[in-house]
Amino acid sequence: MGPLKFIATSTRFILSGGKAYWLWLGFLVALIVWGGLAYIDQFRTGLIVTNMRDQVSWAFYIGNFTFLVGVAAAAVVLVIPAYIYHWGPIKEVALLGEILAVSAIVMCLLFVVADMGRPDRFWHLIPGIGRMNFPSSVLAWDVLVLNLYLVLNVVIVTHLLYRGMQGRPYNPQLVVPLVLFSIPAAVGIHTVTAFIYAGLPGRPYWNASILAPRFLCSAFCSGPAIMLILFQILQRTTKIAIRDAAIWKIAELMAYAMFLNLFLLGAELFKEYYSATEHLIHFQYLFAGIHGHHALVPYAWTFVACGIGAFLLFLFPATRRNVITLNLGCLLIYASVYIEKGMGLVMPAFTPDTLGEIYEYTPTIHELRIGAAIFSIGFLIFTLLCRIAVPILTGEFSAARTPAPGRTKGQWAPHASTAS
């Protein structure tokens, strides 16, 4: 099977699906068009169509970017416990994690492009052609590691799908080192992203050494929350067998991660409120409002409440094994981390600004539309890749073929031996 045949077969998979599948794709495409038109407008008239201004110079786009870096990182990090606890369908966990990582990284990069004042000059960021400010700019590092991470995951996913489609085993000498490398790389992209913020002495809300650990803890919650919901969907709609015990184990690990996340938040809140220096004002804006500006307060308490709620749901075995409370917990975590690592991270740092001015930001409809389009692109990539991956993973694809003598190893089915 050559590359063209691979593309043709993948296309055939993508084009086959029921009514619900096509409705879902149609919905995503409609959102992409709707947001794409908003982006064309922004490209022409400038970022003035957003509500960002000099006082709050990063907002909705960069908040979403930060949240999605966490999702991209954590999906892959899930491979570690999958190895340690012998979950069985490790390949599913790894492959789906990589696919989620690819989708999330594409969304991250799109949010960065959406935030650029001069997207036509993106090539200035390409090493060799442009002029990267190494090693001093953390953002230059971040662009590099995010792209490397994207390439890494695309290579793994493509190789697994390509070989799976051929009915051949994947090449362990290629895949195992790459998957293992993608784990520290996942931690790396999140750490570098945290350092973008933590390295700025002029922004006390970010300039805390606790920021990178907090990023990692919240990512260990949000990424798996999405994976858990996904596993359950696949468990019901496809022949992929994922043991309940594996799902419960993930939920238990998430309870620990959420505990650490809340603990680190508490440690930071104690330091800021007890010492009550000039840095405190940003936390006050987030949790109580200042001088009549309260836009973030309801969101702040929502993220705290959702975080504590999810922690309790996942802490007790009875509730993490119950389908309803399990999924409720996932949604709570998703909401909590989306607020905390999105707008809750970006906006208080700019409010008040470095000279004490309060500019209260809320996103415009343009920003929301562009955000919706980018999320739709991510979901679209994820849906299409799953459309190709699932029949291969379940063995439906290879089962349709007649047996050939002499080649018995390398079966691509859930029970197949792992590369290790």
Binding site: D115, R121, A140, R163, G167, L200, R401, T408
Partner: protein, 314 residues
């Protein structure tokens, strides 16, 4: 389950190289074709297109390329504003390090510096951009940004209850903004002025997040500059009209300073609160102030080491 050859006519992977049909595109052919197409595109586009959209970083231009860029800018601006325009790329002069001092006991908060700066440096009138921000502070609190008010609007200044702290780029010796720029579009010149290459800035605004003084401003929309108010005496790294989507900032009026003139804010100040000069010249006014008065800098704890000093002269 044993492995299977295909019943759909898919050749097995092992035979992929040998069995590739003539006329089927191999991966190498495909990549070669893409490369050739890209090279052809670059070769085919006009030098004007390349200069405008694929331009180099300012510091990588040869002297001839600088001249070519200046000529293009002169033509563009002359056409747009219908008058003779001079665009200079005069580099830093040897033996010069610019410094600034502001006498807080004299400043009356009249904001004439703000408007002179806007006029001199061709800032956008809509959306409004101002490089100088004058903060009204309560006398009882001293310099406290949290209670500062940039939008004060009394009948008369100075208001007896308040004093005024104008803030612009502090021209730090260790600038945060240049350090974080991912593409090196902003840097400190040998004479200490932090400048921006408007043709290289990608508009990511990381420098604005990094600056502790709110000194950097972004062109959120297409900057509007009335023809009648255009200042045609331009420097390529300073006051030339900016494009949409890039960051700009105070340059100590680089177009004036490097030919020995005072910045516009110094010249306009009606109470003589603003002082400017060469920190390396022991006889200059700025070094005399540092020697004889007691000066301080804003947010000294951040170790940005500004070359913009404040003092109480009387």
């Amino acid at each position: 389950m044993p492995d299977t050859p295909t019943d759909r006519g898919i050749p097995s992977g092992a035979d992929e190289e040998t069995n590739a049909a003539p006329g089927q595109l191999s991966r190498r052919d495909f990549l070669t074709a893409v490369g050739v197409a890209a090279a052809g595109f670059l070769a085919g586009c006009t030098p004007e297109f390349r200069e405008k959209y694929l331009q180099k970083h300012f510091l990588e231009l040869s002297p001839q390329e600088v001249e070519a860029r200046l000529a293009r800018l002169r033509d563009d601006y002359a056409k747009r504003f219908g008058q003779e325009v001079s665009v200079s790329a005069l580099p830093a002069q040897p033996g010069v390090l610019y410094g600034y001092a502001l006498d807080l006991s004299r400043c009356i908060g009249c904001r004439r510096c703000v408007y002179a700066c806007v006029r001199e440096n061709n800032q956008s009138r809509s959306p409004q951009i101002q490089w100088i921000r004058v903060l009204e502070m309560e006398k009882e609190k001293g310099i406290d940004f949290e209670t500062a008010n940039p939008y004060y609007n009394p009948e008369r200044v100075p208001d007896p209850e308040h004093f005024y702290v104008p803030v612009a780029c502090q021209q730090c010796r260790t600038p945060q903004c240049t350090m974080v720029c991912p593409v090196g579009a902003t840097w400190q010149e040998p004479d200490g002025i932090v400048v921006v290459d408007y043709d290289w800035c990608i508009g990511c605004r990381y420098c604005m997040a990094a600056c502790p003084y709110g000194a950097r401003h972004f062109n959120w929309g297409e900057p509007e500059l009335p023809v009648a108010e255009f200042n045609p005496n331009l420097h390529i790294l300073g006051n030339r009209p900016r494009p949409q989507g890039v960051v700009e900032k105070c340059t100590f009026c680089v177009q004036r300073a490097r030919v020995g003139r005072y910045p516009a804010c110094v010249e306009i100040c009606p109470v003589g609160a603003r002082k400017f000069g060469n920190l390396l010249d022991p006889e200059s006014e700025i070094t005399r102030i540092i020697r004889e008065k007691r000066v301080f800098v804003l947010k000294a704890e951040l170790k940005t080491e500004p070359k913009f000093y404040y003092f109480y002269g009387i």
